[in-house]
């Protein structure tokens, strides 16, 4: 059974033409995919449909065999980690440390003795340890992006969806992101990355999924 099964998916926003129509594809839990397509073709909308944030106009999405419309957002979030395109929308805690701890306090992200070690590891990896008592609002765009990535990567999810994760990162931090992606690959965890950076995708994904209004295709 595939991790994600997308059947004849059709979507449009109210009063607009169909963004995409009758698209179908499968994703395995350990697959590493790059989602590509021109601006405005619906990449982020497709991801939001896969997370259950948006509802399709037609077709179904199955996550581990269950229809996404029957699963709560929190249950989706326990299986799939999502890094938003805009980190401002993802950060809601009063401090960086609380943001990192949130899933362990309120979700059921495998509470254990090594939580603090894990959080510190990711804060150090993304060079955020010195900001741990800062409000995320005070961070720069790049720092916010790193925090969003760190908070998702620290959780024990089966699959990750990263919406333009390298945006706003400098060369050094992009290298750290690449190391994290490499670690995820070694751990056998799958991910899907939306990006316009062909070189970045070439290195870290196995397949490209091209989204067009008339359908999707693996290339």
């Amino acid at each position: 059974m595939s991790f994600y099964t997308i059947n004849s998916l059709t979507f449009s926003y109210a009063k607009t033409d169909k963004l995409f129509q009758n698209i179908s594809f499968d994703i395995d839990v350990n697959q590493h995919i790059g989602l590509v397509g021109p601006n405005g073709c619906g990449k982020t909308s497709l991801v939001k449909l896969m997370l259950g944030i948006l509802r399709p106009r037609g077709g179904e999405i199955y996550l581990e065999g269950s229809n996404i419309k029957d699963i709560s957002l929190s249950d989706v979030g326990k299986k799939v980690g999502y890094v938003f395109q805009n980190p401002d929308k993802q950060l809601f805690c009063p401090t960086v440390l609380e943001q990192m701890r949130f899933s362990f306090t309120y979700g059921s992200s495998e509470p254990g003795e090594d939580i603090d070690d894990k959080i510190n590891y990711y804060l150090k990896t993304f060079d955020l340890i010195q900001y741990k008592n800062f409000s995320p609002v005070k961070l720069s765009r790049g720092e916010k992006q790193r925090l969003a990535l760190a908070s998702v990567l620290s959780r024990n999810v089966k699959f990750l969806i990263l919406d333009e994760p390298s945006t706003g990162l400098d060369i050094l931090r992009k290298k750290e992101l690449e190391n994290c992606l490499m670690t995820l690959k070694q751990e056998g965890k799958g991910y899907m990355i939306i990006s316009h950076e062909a070189k970045f995708l070439d290195k870290y994904v196995d397949q490209l999924l091209r989204l067009r209004p008339e359908g999707v295709e693996y290339v």
């Binding site: 997370l51 709560s72 929190s74 979030g77 949130f102």
Partner: protein, 244 residues
């Protein structure tokens, strides 16, 4: 045909003033009917707002029940432990409130159907200070933005694994503070950016502002105002037993 924004503003002012003045249920129903006809004439899409209004139905029903308890008179319809829960007079008052609010909401949609800047130009042409009209417009536009921020934070919280249904009440309350605080901060930040943007474009740099948009009332506007005024006057007269 393009209707001058002032026409819409005047008609909405007439309808909402009448909604406040009218006391009889039957007159309010006539006013609601008139408002819906006007919405139709001004091509206002009603399905979305009706759906949203349906969400307010519980609130309105509670309001009707409270009115019913505290409004003496009429026949008692429901009692509990010797206490009047629902009376005919209370029911009538409750229904009147629901219709009155619907009239105000639907009539406001007539203004909302005009482009925002047209409304600003319309208010300026009616001799309101530009700064005040622009501020009113900004604050109206801010509400959906705030709601969007709130919804985004709520989604982020849930995707981080928090189940808003299953967690205990105490945790739920603290969770809502997580959602509300960033929404307020982001809204304030947005306000700061808007004010910076306005200043950088020379807002209030000169005492007078010029505009490319020139409004002119045409025959159709006068016909619409006179017809709507006559209809509203007719409903108000009916309410105060001046006619029929």
């Amino acid at each position: 045909m393009k209707i001058d924004p002032r026409t819409k503003i005047i008609i909405v002012f007439l309808i909402s003033s009448a909604a406040v003045m009218i006391t009889e249920l039957s007159s309010l129903l006539f006013l609601l009917l008139l408002t819906l006809i006007l919405c139709r004439l001004f091509s206002v899409a009603l399905s979305g707002p009706i759906k949203k209004l349906r969400k307010l139905l519980y609130f309105l029903v509670v309001l009707a029940l409270i009115q019913s308890i505290f409004t003496p008179g009429g026949e008692v319809l429901v009692t509990a432990g010797g206490m009047r829960i629902l009376t005919t007079a209370g029911l009538e008052t409750g229904i009147s409130i629901i219709i009155r609010m619907s009239v105000i909401v639907f009539s406001a949609l007539i203004i909302a159907s005009a482009p925002a800047m047209d409304v600003v130009y319309g208010l300026i042409a009616m001799k309101l200070p530009y700064e005040i009209t622009f501020m009113v417009l900004l604050s109206i536009k801010f509400l959906p933005l705030f709601r969007e921020e709130f919804a985004d934070s709520l989604t982020a919280v849930q995707l981080a694994g928090a189940d808003l249904v299953k967690i205990p009440l105490k945790q739920k309350l603290s969770l809502y503070s997580y959602v509300l605080t960033p929404s307020v901060i982001k809204a304030l930040n947005r306000a700061r950016f808007i004010s910076l943007s306005m200043e950088s474009r020379g807002f209030r740099a000169y005492p007078d502002r010029t505009s490319y948009c020139k409004l002119s009332m045409r025959g159709m506007d006068y016909v619409a105002i006179i017809a709507a005024s006559a209809a509203v006057l007719l409903v108000v007269s009916y309410n105060f037993n001046i006619i029929g």
